[in-house]
Symmetry: C2
Subunit: 128 residues, 2 copies
């Protein structure tokens, strides 16, 4: 999807918001999956504020644990993630966002997915 694709603004109900369980640091893990390829792009963390920003802006907004600040994914890289679907799991402690990914991919390394390294023997000639 191009950079102009609009993300879905979500009006979550109070019951849905109350179902989300944050850890001792006030964070919840958020898995991000590409809508078109169904590949897992990344996992990052949200707090209650950045979850609300994600819903309000229709794009993923995380909490950067290393920088300790709100992280609007793509603001510096251009790799914005436009929300198409948003889910919470059975016990409310993990979120899943299905997105249209702008740019080359989600990873700060330039890779399409952050999960570009597999465990086990690397076949001869396999790209890193």
């Amino acid at each position: 999807m191009g950079p102009m694709s609009a993300g879905l603004r979500i009006d979550a109900s109070p019951e849905q918001l109350a179902a989300v369980k944050y850890d001792a640091n006030g964070l919840v893990p958020a898995i991000v999956q590409a809508h078109d390829t169904r590949q897992i792009l990344m996992m990052a963390w949200m707090n209650a504020e950045t979850l609300q920003l994600t819903f309000a802006e229709g794009r993923t907004v995380f909490w950067s644990r290393s920088r300790r600040e709100v992280w609007r994914k793509g603001d510096t890289s251009g790799e914005v993630q436009h929300v198409r679907e948003a889910y919470y799991d059975c016990d409310g402690d993990t979120l899943l966002f299905v997105v249209d990914q702008d740019g080359a991919g989600a990873c700060h390394t330039g890779a399409y997915s952050c999960f570009f390294r597999s465990f086990g023997p690397v076949p001869v000639g396999d790209a890193p």
Copy 2:
């Protein structure tokens, strides 16, 4: 895939194992994705021991944070997850397992995926 499908035993290299970063509780989140449908089934946690068990047995083995014990997924439910691919992310703090899921699904509720609830208005007639 049927219950007899064999999972992949993985011989992870010392460098790969050293790249995995555990949190202050000695845990790392592990996303589980179905190989056939590419749907996200669940997320759970592993420690160094259950990651090694997963590699050795070719099926997902987690650390149950609530029960504080090794959790061989499917031992009581029959919903074993046979590993086909295993990845670690760019900063080594999240794992991804692509699996063949036995049984009806991954969720203790009986649902196929633990992410069966979406945020936002529920369409009339939508199944819970």
